[in-house]
């Protein structure tokens, strides 16, 4: 932390985690890249790195406890089932769910959102969607929270509507009452934008949605990694997030749903584990969460996810949020000073997550990220699966730096120096 006092930023950067200690838990952060360069990993909104604790938990599971779950009587089956279901308990506690049965394991956030959109396609009664009904999303959604709703509304003859964005990159809520009406059946919003970094007032939107009896779905893929989450206080009906962004493994995501909502939704995939009884003519279905978990689930991945949430819990999510805020504020300030650089999204660290997208006059994001990569700095370039949000700001793509529990101010400094180097390389003033 000598760097902080050296740059005179100690006061403003209070709130940082002990990154020396945190970084020691992440083996990948000490590896060397081509040219013997240290890794500056600024792509955590894409996927986070994994601490040794998560790696160990998964290795231990495969090495010592591996068996299928919920169907083996033998000791290994019991151990594996206990580990898998223990992970469900961990997830439930981590997000404040009232019951472990409200936690559905999926493959990722995308599958969780598709689960909701697809089961709504088949729903009858109150949840049924048809002509005249409306689904409301926002212009800052990831494609995974746009396309499933396009498919649903197109197939059911319903209408898709959306919140627009302000120039600062926040939701334009001025027309909320005319957008969310008696016709609205579903409101699906992102909590923290993966591109703009905006933290949306989900509770306020949920209140309005519930006034008109709409179902509230929240894409919390970037929120759960960064801030304390209480799904009950949030006021949503369904919340999706993914394991690999919370220092957990790929291949596992979570759909939380309020008990009565999960009960009302029809099954998703058919197969083993999701049934109560099967005859050749007809089947009856298990209750949630099994109803939505056909087939052998991602067992080791669930174990890894449990270890990941334990890890974040040991850091303390308040501390994680404070770190994210401090490092994001520092980055915004440093990036703002770069000539020709424009930040897409809020430029102040207020209601803002740790992903900062930007463009640089005369430089294409591909070229920026290629140059940064040659310096060992990993960022993301492209549309970040948010093409409509890019279109809203008149750009085709952007460069995105994103920060997490292991990110240091020195890495932000390296990014800034890397950008200046890139400008010199391409002779952009």
């Amino acid at each position: 932390m000598t760097l902080l006092s050296a740059s005179g930023d100690t006061a403003r950067l209070s709130g940082l985690l002990d990154t020396d200690r945190v970084r020691a838990d992440f083996p990948i952060l000490s590896r060397r890249l081509d040219g013997d360069r240290p890794l500056v990993y600024l792509d955590s909104a894409n996927t986070s790195q994994k601490p040794q604790q998560v790696i160990d938990a998964m290795v231990e599971h495969y090495a010592m406890h591996n068996a299928n779950v919920a169907r083996a009587v033998h000791q290994l089956g019991a151990e594996s089932t206990a580990a898998f279901e223990g992970a469900r308990d961990t997830v439930a506690a981590f997000i404040g769910a009232e019951s472990r049965d409200e936690i559905v394991f999926t493959k990722n956030s995308t599958e969780a959102l598709n689960l909701v959109a697809n089961t709504l396609m088949w729903a009858r009664g109150d949840l049924a969607i048809g002509p005249g009904d409306e689904v409301v999303i926002t212009e800052m959604e990831h494609h995974s929270n746009i396309v499933p709703w396009q498919l649903l509304t197109q197939r059911k003859g319903a209408t898709l509507r959306w919140f627009g964005l302000t120039d600062e990159g926040r939701l334009d809520l001025s027309d909320m009452d005319s957008l969310i009406t008696e016709r609205t059946k579903v409101v699906s919003v992102v909590w923290v934008s993966n591109m703009l970094g905006t933290v949306n007032p989900v509770a306020e939107i949920a209140r309005r949605a519930h006034e008109v009896g709409a179902l509230v779905v929240v894409d919390a893929s970037q929120a759960v990694p960064q801030m304390p989450v209480d799904v009950v206080a949030l006021g949503a009906d369904l919340v999706a997030f993914t394991g690999h962004k919370v220092v957990g493994p790929t291949g596992i995501g979570v759909l939380w749903g309020r008990g009565d909502v999960l009960t009302a939704l029809p099954p998703f995939h058919g197969g083993g584990n999701m049934i109560e009884n099967v005859t050749m003519a007809v089947s009856t279905y298990a209750s949630a969460p099994s109803k939505f978990e056909a087939g052998t689930p991602p067992i080791a991945q669930a174990v890894g996810l449990g270890a990941a949430l334990d890890y974040l819990g040991s850091l303390g999510m308040d501390n994680v949020a404070a770190h994210e805020h401090a490092i994001t504020a520092y980055a915004l300030e440093q990036l703002r000073d770069i000539r020709g650089l424009t930040i897409l999204g809020p430029t102040e660290a207020v209601d803002r997550g740790g992903a900062v997208s930007f463009e640089i006059d005369g430089l294409h994001p591909h070229d920026v990220s290629q140059l940064l990569d040659s310096l060992g700095i990993a960022v993301r370039a492209g549309h970040h699966c948010a093409k409509p949000a890019h279109a809203r700001f008149g750009v085709q793509s952007s460069t995105r730096a994103s920060f997490y529990v292991y990110t240091t101010p020195a890495e932000v400094d390296a990014l800034v120096e890397g950008i200046e180097h890139t400008k010199r390389f391409f002779k952009v003033a």
Binding site: H364, D367, D373, G382
Partner: protein, 148 residues
């Protein structure tokens, strides 16, 4: 990775001052190709007269590699017989898929040999090919229209 092998001076020159850029009349076919991973786009027109590539005009929204490679393509192919242009196209495609293992034919590819280094950067090969794939598509359409 060897950055200089990717960003050859010839490539940067074409990027800063692309040749034959802009969309022009007349043309027989116009195509729009997109790189879905990054969103880069090229709109490209071809004008073919009596089996000769009379003009290639284009508008690229993309990185230095995609802009420069389209610029080099126009330089190289305008004025060639379509059949000869297709041979150049094939050679360029082979070069891009070579992972740096093929010695490029400088007589055939001229300035396009500068892209040999791109083939060592798998994430950038599509950038270099964006304009070339668009040209092949457009030319196939233009020629087909003439035959019909």
């Amino acid at each position: 990775m060897d950055l200089e092998s990717l960003y050859q001076e010839i490539i940067l020159d074409h990027y800063r001052a692309p040749h034959h850029a802009g969309l022009r009349e007349p043309f027989e076919a116009e195509v729009r190709h997109v790189n879905p991973t990054c969103g880069d786009e090229v709109t490209l027109r071809v004008h073919v007269v009596d089996g000769v590539v009379e003009d290639v005009s284009y508008d690229v929204e993309g990185c230095s590699i995609s802009q420069a490679s389209t610029s080099v393509l126009a330089d190289l192919l305008i004025g060639k017989q379509v059949d000869d242009a297709m041979l150049v196209h094939e050679a360029f495609l082979e070069l891009m898929q070579s992972r740096g293992q093929v010695e490029p034919d400088e007589d055939l590819l001229e300035d396009a040999v500068a892209f040999a280094g791109v083939s060592k950067f798998p994430a950038r090969i599509k950038c270099a090919l964006l304009g070339w794939m668009a040209w092949k598509d457009a030319t196939a359409r233009a020629v087909a229209d003439v035959e019909v």
